[in-house]
């Protein structure tokens, strides 16, 4: 039989086998990544897997409100409805009382709420996918430039990055998603620059740079500026490396036009950037503080400047990344500095851009500086993974040992990621996060009964009516805490809700008992053993509310419609 097969056939057969093996390897790697990403979705979605209730800080409420209003009312809007306008009416400085963010992010949540056919899980799941999209883009970029092992290690460690999942839990939702674009924008530009230098120009990549940059500004302006600095750093370093300036009017003009089309898609919102840029810094950092040049030697910021905004440990490297990553991170940086291939320049430029962004306070631009710190893991983690994977090359081990050493280091990396980072992350991100049935969310999240009552209000109370809510403890220490609960009531009921503290002020009392609905929420009083408020509410029901109509009475919550 053998003599009937000519050399060409043998070659084709062998080639096919190699191709098949390579494809199989690619499939396996993709499957591994998919499993890692699904684990990320599992890990990040723990707070709503069982309860299916909304949660988060004030920012989360605002993002939920915008998306939910569009999906529930089956229409887009520019002018804010009253229950959103109460808080955000002046946030758009270019045109007050209108949406202050471009609606790209929120429309995406709204589309998924419509397609998902459900109000809470669809929004939260879509948000989880968008907030964790950085794991996908990091994997994609690092896999394209450095191969599978550093890419999969990076995506694994990113799952447990507190500076990523904490803002996601709190509610900086669009910002989290916007960060996923930085590696993609830099990658597209890198591909353009590299191909241009090799005289086989691929202008499509500069068009995609403009496209993703435009989307980036629609999702979150702060991150857009980070991307721009990244592009500048990458261009300069690549130009130095290749001793060549890449500039093509035609390519640049088309890319700029694509960007401008996107920028002008929602001018009322994108023009809001200009008054924001011109306004004085209102952030926690005092602009009158003298510029401290010693800051140049630090990556992080002074936690005291952000007290009350984010917890102190947010500024700690060891808490946010794990101290074990530091040697690998330094090795990774030193290795790239030593090797200086184009792909190494890519990561170094990204690192430099992060440094520049984190020190913009030195030129007087300190607004949301601490938020930029949330981008550290996106570059630190790949550098750490590269440090671990390439350690064998640095140590100049024999090639047969180097392969085993690489996998040994990868195993060490995975061990620490689970034993240190996942353990730490699990303290903040678990099934009890924002749980209204225990101390994590008792005062700040809606419980099942409150959620149902809020949905009843949405479906049964006309928009022109406000809801006064009793039953939220009115001791001073609870006011700021429970303010979040009442805002969630606003969001879910799509009505203006306000506290009613049974105070003696007659004018205040009159305003609550006139042209209104009153909600008596008894759900919190039992666990708090607040007998006094309970007795006062019962008295109010028997006296002031006796002649009014009880329209809702379920799960320890009553709603009265006050007759004129």
């Amino acid at each position: 039989m053998i003599e009937h097969i000519n050399i060409k056939q043998i070659f084709i057969k062998r080639f096919n086998i190699f191709l098949y093996m390579k494809l199989n390897k690619n499939y396996l790697q993709t499957l591994i990544f998919i499993l890692v990403y699904l684990f990320a979705l599992y890990f990040w979605s723990q707070p709503y897997q069982e309860r299916k209730l909304p949660y988060g800080e004030y920012d989360a409420m605002s993002h939920f409100e915008i998306a939910d209003y569009m999906a529930y009312n089956d229409r887009s809007f520019v002018k804010l409805p009253q229950y959103i306008d109460v808080r955000y009416g002046l946030d758009n400085k270019f045109k007050p009382h209108t949406l202050w963010y471009p609606p790209t992010f929120h429309s995406s949540l709204a589309v998924m709420q419509v397609l998902g056919g459900e109000r809470i899980v669809a929004v939260y799941l879509m948000n989880t996918i968008m907030a964790s999209f950085i794991i996908i883009t990091i994997y994609f970029v690092i896999n394209s430039l450095f191969g599978f092992l550093p890419a999969i290690l990076s995506s694994l460690l990113l799952i447990f990055s507190p500076r990523d999942f904490m803002p996601f839990l709190w509610g900086q939702w669009p910002e989290r998603f916007a960060y996923a674009f930085i590696p993609i924008i830099l990658y597209c530009f890198y591909k353009y620059f590299i191909s241009y230098s090799k005289q086989e120009s691929k202008p499509v990549y500069i068009y995609f740079t403009g496209l993703f940059l435009g989307i980036n500004i629609l999702v979150h302006p702060l991150v857009f500026f980070h991307s721009v600095i990244g592009l500048a750093a990458l261009y300069i370093l690549l130009a130095i490396k290749q001793k060549k300036l890449v500039f093509n009017w035609k390519h640049l003009a088309i890319s700029a036009i694509i960007f401008l089309i996107l920028f002008m898609l929602f001018p009322i919102q994108t023009f809001n950037i200009f008054p924001q840029l011109g306004s004085k810094n209102t952030d926690t950092q005092d602009t009158k503080k003298p510029v401290e040049l010693s800051r140049l030697l630090h990556w992080s910021l002074n936690p005291k400047d952000y007290a009350g905004s984010v917890p102190e440990f947010y500024f700690s490297f060891s808490k946010m990344h794990g101290l074990w990553t530091l040697p690998f991170l330094l090795i990774g940086i030193l290795f790239l500095l030593w090797r200086r291939e184009e792909r190494d320049i890519f990561l170094l430029a990204w690192l430099i851009s992060l440094y520049l962004i984190l020190h913009r306070d030195l030129i007087g631009k300190a607004t949301f500086l601490h938020r930029s710190l949330s981008a550290t893991a996106h570059i630190f983690v790949p550098l750490t993974a590269i440090g671990a994977v390439y350690l064998g090359s640095i140590l100049k081990l024999p090639s047969n040992l180097r392969k085993y050493f690489k996998y040994l280091m990868a195993a060490v990396f995975v061990y620490f990621a689970f034993s240190v980072n996942m353990q730490y992350a699990g303290q903040f991100l678990n099934k009890d996060t924002y749980n209204p049935n225990n101390e994590n969310g008792f005062f700040v999240s809606l419980n099942e009964e409150e959620f149902k009552a809020a949905e009843w209000v949405l479906e049964n109370v006309p928009y022109t009516y406000n809801i006064s809510v009793l039953g939220i403890p009115h001791q001073d220490r609870f006011v700021s805490l429970t303010a979040r609960k009442i805002r969630w009531l606003n969001a879910v009921s799509q009505h203006v809700n306000r506290f009613y503290y049974l105070i003696e002020d007659e004018k205040e009392k009159e305003s609550h008992l006139k042209n209104n609905y009153i909600m008596l929420d008894y759900t919190m009083l039992g666990p708090l053993n607040d007998k006094e408020t309970f007795a006062n509410m019962q008295l109010l029901e028997k006296t002031s509310l006796a002649n009014h109509t009880l329209v809702y009475n379920q799960g320890n919550i009553k709603v009265y419609k006050l007759e004129k």
């Binding site: 499957l31 089956d74 998924m112 419509v114 056919g117 669809a122 996918i129 989307i215």
Partner: protein, 103 residues
């Protein structure tokens, strides 16, 4: 194609187990908004992984942006369908144009 189907089954099963029918619908929803862009990106000489990542990114941003704009004048639900049809036609036209150009 078989591999892609396996991946989709894995993701859909995971979403269904963890989030019920809503989870499954969201996965289908992401595919729904991304498919037109994937078809468009077929015309630009991109790598397969680039097409997947870019089309999802475009699907969950450009698609809803267009839905929002159309939703200012018609029902949000109708806008979703209209934008999908518009983008599918655009992908088809782009394909035809590219084929004509290459010939």
């Amino acid at each position: 194609m078989i591999f892609l189907a396996i991946i989709l089954i894995v993701v859909a099963t995971f979403s269904f187990i963890l989030f019920g029918i809503t989870g499954l619908k969201v996965v289908i929803g992401i595919l729904f908004v991304s498919i037109p862009f994937y078809l468009m990106l077929n015309n630009f000489g991109l790598g397969e992984s680039e097409k997947y990542v870019f089309s999802v990114l475009l699907g969950i941003t450009i698609f809803p942006s267009l839905v929002y704009l159309l939703g200012l004048v018609v029902s949000f639900r109708i806008s979703i369908l209209a934008v999908f049809l518009f983008l599918m036609v655009l992908a088809f036209v782009l394909r035809k144009y590219k084929l004509k150009k290459s010939n």
